[in-house]
């Protein structure tokens, strides 16, 4: 059995940056919690072209006569976008909006109407509790906190935070659905040697946001994630709770040191990230326990 890598409490500096320029919403020295919004940006939605002239069989320069929306108007998926009526009303043709968005242009040269889909918000939150040490112009901030950081062996799911809740009495105890009782909403659950997919699903349904466990069967993890992970680069899985495996696959008790350390912080707010990159820029899943 391997020992989970740990570090004692230390000053932790975390850069929290948007991938694209945006608005920074915090100030230096401001106290932040994991869910504090640090910065926000919007990515323009995808433009979707509708070839009205071709579909209505009219010359491009005439399409303005048939378009039911003006530039800047909002349009809903399936809403009539253009209507043609000819032969004294006998020949009618309606073109419906293929997506929801805003009419960006109506071209009488190409006969195409462009609908811009809604902007996509891109946000970055603090993830850890601490103080804003530095502002990164248009991108985010650096958060300073005092914390203990533990690294697991493998994980899935991204950043989560919540109250640490111990489900087991010993590091070799298996987590079964029966152990999942009480209010688990927003909690990060500590398990022992193994957790079943049934228990994972029940935890997710109960609103838990994370699980830290010694071992897990690959088949159970695959069923929970929805597919068998190939390349060991994780963090983008669409899972409602993040899972961190501290010691290995299969029935693997959590190391005594790790279990003891985590158990001591029962009830405390912790942050976890299941992101794992086993090759290239090695990233191991982490558990951050504020001091």
């Amino acid at each position: 059995m391997t020992i989970l890598a740990t570090s004692s409490s230390k000053v932790l500096l975390r850069e929290r940056r948007l991938p694209i320029p945006g608005d920074v919403l915090v100030q230096v020295s401001e106290h932040v919690l994991p869910d504090t919004l640090i910065a926000r940006a919007e990515v323009p939605g995808t433009p979707v072209g509708v070839s009205l002239a071709a579909r209505l069989d009219v010359p491009p320069e005439q399409i303005e006569k048939y378009v039911l929306k003006q530039v800047g108007d909002e349009v809903e998926l399936g809403e009539p976008l253009a209507m043609y009526s000819g032969l004294f009303g006998l020949a009618k043709k309606t073109i419906y909006a293929p997506t929801t968005g805003t009419v960006e242009s109506v071209s009488t040269v190409t006969g195409v109407v462009i609908i811009r889909e809604p902007n996509i918000p891109v946000e970055v939150k603090a993830y850890v509790s601490g103080v804003v040490a530095r502002i990164i112009d248009q991108e985010g901030a650096e958060i300073e906190s005092h914390a203990t950081v533990l690294h697991g062996k493998f994980g899935v799911g991204g950043e989560r935070w919540g109250e640490l809740h111990n489900l087991v009495n010993s590091p070799d105890q298996v987590v079964t659905p029966e152990l999942l009782t009480g209010d688990l909403r927003g909690k990060i659950l500590l398990g022992g040697a193994l957790i079943s997919v049934a228990a994972l699903h029940k935890a997710a349904q109960a609103g838990a946001v994370g699980v830290v466990v010694g071992g897990i069967d690959n088949s159970e993890l695959a069923e929970f994630v929805g597919y068998d992970i190939g390349v060991p680069i994780t963090g983008q899985e669409k899972v409602s709770l993040s899972v961190i495996v501290t010691d290995g696959f299969g029935h693997t008790p959590m190391s005594d040191d790790t279990f003891s350390l985590l158990s001591r912080h029962e009830g405390q707010q912790v942050s976890i990230n299941g992101t794992t990159h086993l090759r290239a820029n090695l990233i191991k899943p982490e558990i951050i326990i504020p001091a």
Binding site: S219, G230, P232, A280
Partner: protein, 565 residues
């Protein structure tokens, strides 16, 4: 033959640090004197030279020669001294940290992005991500990905000279936005866009300009980009703890291990002047090399390997494909759990017999899949440097288009740690299972994983380096005779009559459905008479008479059958 180097120390720093000492041997080539293996010491507080010195100390003890200075920090004694201490040259290859890891970008996946990927692979790099307009991702997702992967070098290409500028500039902005301070970026795109690329990337990145990979649509120019990648590799390795010291000890620039293996296999193709396939099974990648119709090609199958990538092999191949090679039952979940544990602890090599067999099964599947990818790439339309016709630029290739001809194939060389840990019979069957050669093919393995070392030596002296490998690094297992066609197990497949140079004669009838090792020595003449529906390269039922070379296993007859093309 080199006049200056009587004695050379070659060190490969990879998963372990493996050093060999070779001396010039009469009448030609290098002779292995001793070898040493030690743990690679490159953790953040480490110093790679400590592992190197530990390996070299083993050599000193075996060879009874002093190679290290009294003041150990001064490194290896070069040149060799009149009292016999030291070596004339110290050479270093490295794959520490998985080698050089790159991301590449090009406008269209199957065009410039494809050229960029091959330029990087051809230079010995691993490609982490290929960014293209048509890769289905949004710009901010590209930026996020570049940030997450933190490539050692970024290769940016796109647009023919005088053509599209806006898209390649958009990629440049994405790279700039990732803000990976001082990341080396090689720009190999539209020359007309250089000035703007410089404005976008010149401040925060370490920008290098090389010739456009695709100056015109029908032409591909990879060599300048490859050359630059090699230069950057050198700068990259010295960032590893202790490597700055090691590069000062080295008599020549450090070479990527994979590049050295590539050089060795290319030399083998030239020396033997025959169609061959080389295979290098690594921890994260499987490299396949081939020489057919005068063209040498290397492909890297990222994420097919026996370390971090081992679980991915099972996921991609499927349980049934892997389990068919195992002589015992194992539940899918148990198999995957074992591989996952290897994935998270790649330094722990298999110890029990079952785990060794699982590793060999994975090796077969990794090789099979990597080889299939290789065959699809090696076509008349694709290659290291070639003219492409506008009409076939968008062609998707199939195995039928491949230049790799399994009947024409004459030599297979297997390399990688797995071949250094298994017996000859297991190695031969592994190669047969994974590559499915047809007709007559010689099988050989790099039994001590010294291909990077001898590859480096071929860069110093091609003939001497390869002869050293032939003598001390390569083990010829024998000529395999593989029957094409299918027959019922137990029914007659073919018969052979072998006559050795020393007059020894042997006749044998072989039934379908087996691998038989025929213990003969040296070379000789063989006549193979296949049954009506059996082909050994001359056609169904056609007799074949030729010369063959036996190896440590003699001759290897595989009558398990191959599908006819």
């Amino acid at each position: 033959m080199s006049d200056i180097a009587q004695s050379i120390l070659v060190v490969d720093c990879g998963h372990v640090t493996h050093a060999i000492l070779v001396d010039q041997a009469a009448p030609k080539g290098y002779r292995l004197v001793a070898r040493g293996i030690a743990k690679t010491t490159v953790d953040p507080e480490g110093d790679v030279t400590l592992g190197v010195l530990a390996a070299v100390r083993q050599i000193e003890e075996s060879a009874g020669r002093q190679l290290v200075h009294q003041e150990q920090d001064q490194g290896i004694i070069t040149p060799r001294q009149p009292d016999g201490t030291g070596v004339d040259l110290m050479l270093v290859t490295s794959s520490v940290g998985g080698g050089l890891q790159m991301s590449v970008a090009g406008l269209v996946k199957i065009m410039t992005a494809d050229s960029a990927e091959r330029a990087a692979l051809g230079a010995g790099a691993s490609v982490l991500d290929v960014i293209a307009i048509d890769d289905g991702r949004m710009p901010h997702e590209h930026i996020q990905r570049i940030r997450e992967l933190k490539p050692d070098v970024f290769l940016l290409s796109g647009g023919i000279d005088g053509g599209n500028e806006s898209d390649v500039l958009e990629f440049a902005r994405e790279v700039a936005q990732a803000k990976l301070h001082r990341m080396p970026v090689i720009y190999a795109g539209n020359k007309e866009a250089r000035e703007e690329v410089k404005q976008i990337l010149g401040v925060d990145c370490e920008l290098h300009f090389v010739d456009n990979l695709r100056p015109v649509l029908e032409q591909e120019v990879l060599e300048p980009a490859r050359q630059k990648i090699h230069e950057l590799f050198m700068e990259h390795v010295v960032k590893t703890p202790g490597f700055d010291k090691l590069t000062k000890w080295a008599s020549r620039p450090v070479m990527p291990s994979t590049g050295a293996v590539s050089s060795l296999i290319e030399t083998a193709a030239r020396q033997h002047d025959m169609p061959l396939i080389g295979l290098n099974l690594g921890d994260t990648t499987t490299d396949v090399y081939s020489a057919f119709k005068g063209r040498f090609t290397r492909t890297v199958s990222a994420d097919l390997g026996l370390g971090y990538s081992i679980s991915n092999v099972l996921v991609r191949a499927g349980y049934q494909q892997v389990a068919r090679w195992l002589p015992f039952d194992i539940a899918p979940n148990e198999l995957q759990n074992r591989l996952r544990n290897r994935m998270i602890n790649p330094e722990q090599k298999p110890e029990c017999e079952e785990d060794k067999l699982i590793e060999q099964a994975i090796a077969r599947e990794a090789t099979r899949m990597a080889f299939e990818q290789h065959r699809r790439r090696v076509t008349g339309l694709r290659g290291v440097r070639q003219q492409r016709d506008i009409a076939n630029i968008f062609d998707q290739t199939s195995l039928a288009d491949s230049l790799v001809d399994m009947v024409e194939l004459q030599l297979i060389i297997g390399s990688g740690n797995v071949f250094a840990t298994i017996d000859d019979k297991s190695a031969a069957v592994l190669l047969l299972d994974a590559l499915q050669p047809e007709g007559l093919t010689r099988l050989a393995v790099d039994y001590s994983y010294a291909a990077p070392h001898y590859g480096m030596l071929t860069a110093i002296d091609q003939d001497a380096g390869y002869q050293g490998f032939e003598r001390d690094g390569l083990r010829h297992l024998g000529t395999s005779i593989c029957a094409i066609g299918r027959g019922r197990a137990g029914e007659a497949s073919l018969s052979i009559a072998f006559s050795s140079a020393d007059g020894h004669k042997l006749e044998r009838a072989i039934a379908w459905g087996q691998v038989e090792f025929i213990p003969v020595q040296g070379g000789g003449d063989i006549t193979i008479v296949p049954q009506t529906h059996c082909d050994v390269g001359a056609g169904d039922g056609h007799k074949l008479t030729t010369s063959v070379t036996a190896g440590t296993l003699g001759l290897i007859v595989d009558t398990r059958g191959r599908a006819k093309q």
